[in-house]
Symmetry: C2
Subunit: 476 residues, 2 copies
């Protein structure tokens, strides 16, 4: 409490009290944050590194759940998209002290602030798993998994055998990747595995760091993750299309691509190139499975396949033994392995998922069928909203035969890559923010700011509100 | 299977078959690996980075639990300490092809190879948690924790509130650290938090990387973790005692120290120094709690406090808001948060632990009392073995009053820092390896190779075998 008194004068405390009342009134008015606000920014914003704090707002409170100082200084845009009630209260305080504030202005800004469930979390998937019930429930006794080790017979000694087994089975069921003669390396999400791959593929004694490239628009976190520690081993070198430097390089191929959903291949195609394939979205709810992927190094994650982002579990399929060993070494150095609890839980979830999709399964509807239908509905809604508005466009994809679902369909990506078509709108993100739709600007993806990326994986309620708002933006 | 045929000729297959028979015979002779071999190397060996593969041995097999190629090339010493049966079989093959091999030689090498449960795992703690029973069991349904977020009201947005609450409570119960007016940052083990601290404390725009130092003997993984990515932000600069460079620096203070168990303070003491306190072992089973630690940045881990190394959960107590924000940012970039499953499980374990140690608890014996007694017994055994042998020494510590246990006692560290006292033994690790005791040489800790570090946290059976062997090494 001392800290609070240091920061706040009596006048400030009075304002805090007023703001708290406002917050309570808003709650009484049943203007629930969740119901009011869309939040279409993405989890990658969390990991994008270059925090440009456009607005700095400070607040302080003691947390009810702990005695820690719970001070936050937050960026409203451009930076972190995590925001808290303290922040909202701080803004409320400032706004209430402004002369000539209208009730509408106040509520508008408050609404804009309530976007803390942003993140493009894959919460859409909760519905399926709730429906499945207790089959995926895991029970772990207190004396289990005290050891660092999971499987000493494996290069990746921290890989839980049950998880490995279910990963292999899932790829067999779906037919989206070759697992034979591959090493499986588990990671704390595919983000850690991406860094493990950079470590493993970079020459250790080169005179300069190896170039890391990806074709624009590329995953917005690649540059910041690559460069955050100013590594002497590797360095972000931008858009693969314009990469001209001689010598070895690493090219990241995300397919289907984040943010635009297109199926991709490498673009540099020189002899000294090393490829990393990020196949996080190569699952049948998003895109047709055309063939089992057969690349040297392929990355996957439960966050985008089953929706369990909170587990922080990803995996790599690695052809080369030395590369698998070096990736394992990186994860040893970085985190001495990967949570056993989450691996065991992931194993159970993957097992239930595969069970549901095996031919002649009696386990309820196949996970991918269910969520394919969800995505189809959402993309239909989005295209109708885009059509109704007339101000935007989204990519058109050709249909392709899916070996898993046994029918043709058009891709229905986890993100919508929306373009503001009006000539006078250069900054689509700002334009949409003015309409209370929070998105991520194309410039973060090495592309034009006429584009924004929008998550398609939020809960129904938020998604529906978003398409409703979008459809109502018409030329005035 | 194709891969196997590519690697192995018919002759090799015959040798594999012979080796498998040898392995089976050994098993029939009931020479169980677990019973035969002590393994006193440490988990940090996994994370030490500079793998000097003295012996390269290759083998290949198809795993029974998956279809992955299960090829391993392993270092028998100096490098990774993880070893598998394939490796043993490969060694067996090579040995069987050597002329003049005696049965004793063969069995000796086989025994030495069976050290795959090395690692200094804190498996000693299994006994307590088994005794506690179901109270620490956790149940997680499949639809829980899909989101990336845990607590958007916190700077560390991926921190589970229940975990935060139990950490604060535990420090209050034990009295080993101040938590008031601190930010709590959770990490994938304290190893990740150490890197987060380096990232947060290094100047972002300095002309050269900041020096990172620690007084020798220091934790053997510090150098390799610090330098593995050749960061332009920070650089390992060795023993703090001999650090003379002007300008800012980061000093790592491990107290009680790993490997030698002594209570420590910073040694450089210059105005531009930034301190990181690694307090992983500041718990009453190891050392007297003299006062609640009150440093700017303190690291803790469940691996060494409760013994749950497989959870990969650590925490930092951070005074400065900007540092806490940067550490959080690093963990966002590195792994987009920390496993929710493990945080929830850790919360439950810490809760049961605190319950057991509250005054007038009716929850069975206090965790720290129980394990303090275990450690006391082990140190007594060790000192007797050292005395009986006459060839070694271990540190002597003065007794100190423990505010938690309410009595004086001498430190009983998680590691024994053993010295080979005989003048002619320069390499204590090699000497002990010859006696079938696997240790970690002092040279990895920036110190003399007359010293070795020995884990005191293995299961009873292994520990007892170790002290028995040690006590039987006498001057011949």
């Amino acid at each position: 409490m001392e800290k609070i008194f240091r920061v706040f004068s009596l006048k400030h405390l009075l304002l805090v009290s007023i703001a708290l009342n406002v917050s309570l009134i808003l709650r009484v008015m049943n203007l629930s944050e969740k119901e009011i606000l869309n939040s279409w920014s993405q989890e990658e914003e969390l990991a994008k590194g270059h925090v440009s704090n456009n607005r700095h707002l400070s607040s302080s409170s003691s947390s009810s759940s702990s005695s820690f100082a719970n001070t936050r200084i937050e960026a409203e845009d451009g930076g972190e998209k995590v925001i808290n009630l303290d922040h909202v209260i701080a803004v409320a305080i400032i706004m209430l002290s402004l002369p000539g504030l209208t009730k509408t202005d106040f509520i508008d800004v408050m609404l804009l602030m309530f976007f803390f469930q942003c993140s493009g979390d894959p919460t859409m998937y909760e519905k399926y798993w709730q429906q499945v019930g207790d089959k995926t429930t895991i029970v772990i006794p207190g004396w289990q998994s005290l050891s660092y080790f999971s499987d000493v017979s494996n290069i990746c000694w921290f890989l839980e055998p049950d998880f490995a087994k279910e990963v292999v089975r899932l790829h067999r069921v779906v037919g989206n990747a070759i697992t034979e003669n591959r090493h499986l390396v588990v990671g704390t999400g595919s983000t850690q595995l991406f860094q493990a791959a950079l470590y493993a593929l970079s020459p250790q004694d080169a005179l300069e760091p190896i170039s890391v490239v990806s074709a624009a628009p590329f995953y917005s976190s690649y540059p910041s993750i690559t460069d955050c520690l100013k590594s002497g081993l590797y360095k972000w070198a931008g858009d693969a299309h314009s990469f001209k430097k001689d010598g070895p390089y690493i090219e990241l191929v995300t397919s289907p691509n984040n943010p635009d959903g297109f199926v991709r291949q490498s673009v540099v195609n020189r002899s000294e190139g090393i490829l990393v394939h990020d196949l996080a979205y190569y699952w049948p709810q998003y895109t047709s499975i055309s063939f089992p992927a057969d690349h040297d190094l392929m990355l996957f994650t439960v966050s985008k396949s089953t929706g369990h982002a909170g587990m922080r579990i990803g995996w790599a399929l690695v052809k080369d033994t030395e590369v698998a060993k070096k990736m394992t070494k990186y994860i040893e150095l970085n985190t001495i392995g990967v949570s056993k609890d989450s691996q065991l839980r992931a194993a159970k979830v993957l097992k239930v998922l595969s069970n549901s999709c095996e031919p002649n399964s009696s386990e309820g509807e196949c996970f991918f069928e269910f969520n394919h239908r969800q995505m189809a509905t959402r993309w239909k809604q989005l295209r109708m909203a885009v059509q109704k508005s007339g101000l935007f466009s989204v990519p058109e994809f050709p249909p392709q035969f899916c070996t898993f679902l046994g029918r043709d369909f058009k891709p229905q990506p986890a993100f919508a890559w929306l373009k503001c078509e009006q000539e006078e709108i250069d900054d689509c993100e700002s334009f949409l923010r003015g309409k209370k739709i929070l998105t991520r600007s194309g410039r973060h993806f090495g592309f034009s700011s006429k584009y924004v990326r929008i998550s398609m994986l939020d809960r129904d309620q938020n998604y529906n509100l978003f398409v409703e708002r979008l459809s109502n933006i018409i030329i005035s």
